[in-house]
Symmetry: C2
Subunit: 214 residues, 2 copies
């Protein structure tokens, strides 16, 4: 299913890399550990790295009530959440045509505050499960005080687009014969050996021992 | 050497994680492959993922002249460049205290266009060398037309701060004894086996075979 392009989400630069497929947008959001949320205060931009979670067509963000960004967003400021996965370096014969392989998503919209209640609890769980699937079954659930002092915001995934680059370099025809190595260097995120706290009582869960992104 | 904190760069949330050391800010900028640049057009935020390069106290960005962001920035719009390195997942006994280890930098300022000339050429080289150190010695240098059709912007690294989290979870005292595994899952970026183009003539360079970030 396609997301309708708008003035903001219509990809103008390298439009052949654009993709409005909802399933692809969701898959990129789900794989990424973090996003970068932008907002403007008196016309001046801020970009904050934060974790996110998706439930259906909604993107959730959270933070403590003292958080500068979240207090601003709840005032009704427009937000732009950008999610970027880097898949590799692309080495062309010419400096100019060097590139990266990537999958990115931009979501534009007005983030609104989620009131205390079932949606807020579901968002808390989704935020933990987004980073470590299976974790909410083990971790101590949030207390009433923890819920109260944490803001949760929801951004509808209505105005969104993906941009994807894959494959090798696109060199100028005249450069192909140059005696310069050309190709790709794939890049992945690797998770190392878990480090238990000295006073950890639990046994290492399977979802940590075998941790991987979707 | 410390960078003086301003109203924008003074870290309010988790201030003990703040760091204004210029060498640390530079090291984070140099290690990251990409940054997220935010700007506002008519009060509405945009966040664009892009590569960057640093020369001394200057952050360089680039793009084709048709690029939406760069055309906006050259008009004199304020920018915020945020760079984030994720070092690991932090698993607490409580859902609430889950976290990530990270190193991030925010640079605020007014990006200005770099005119054609030696600084622009140095920035081109720096952008390639930032991603693949050693590459400019092999790649075909930019032609006059490529230089002309690419905008380079410079953002002074004057108003900037770093934020760093490291180490295990900080649990509530009452939660320590819970039968829940607690600890860290370290995360690194791994580079795979290089994939040569079928028509690549050059031999695999040492800087690709042994590629690593600084």
């Amino acid at each position: 299913m396609q997301i309708a392009a708008t003035e903001r989400t219509k990809v103008r630069r390298q439009p052949k890399r654009a993709n409005y497929d909802r399933a692809l947008v969701h898959a990129i959001l789900d794989e990424a550990l973090t996003c970068h949320v932008g907002f403007a205060i008196e016309g001046r931009p801020w970009v904050i790295p934060t974790i996110h979670a998706r439930i259906d067509d909604r993107l959730y963000l959270h933070g403590a009530v003292t958080n500068h960004m979240l207090r601003s967003l709840t005032g009704g400021i427009e937000a732009c959440a950008t999610i970027t996965l880097i898949d590799g370096l692309v080495l062309a014969r010419s400096a100019f045509h060097h590139s990266m392989n990537y999958r990115s998503v931009m979501v534009f919209g007005r983030a609104t505050l989620v009131a205390d209640g079932p949606e807020k609890l579901a968002a808390f769980d989704a935020l933990v499960e987004h980073v470590v699937p299976g974790r909410t079954a083990d971790a101590r659930p949030p207390s009433d005080a923890e819920i109260r002092t944490t803001l949760v915001l929801v951004l509808p995934i209505d105005e969104a687009s993906a941009k994807v680059r894959a494959g090798g370099p696109i060199d100028e025809p005249d450069d192909i014969a140059l005696d310069v190595w050309a190709g790709q260097l794939p890049l992945t995120t690797t998770f190392g050996a878990p480090i238990a706290e000295p006073d950890s009582n639990g046994t290492l869960p399977a979802y940590i021992a075998g941790y991987h992104r979707p």
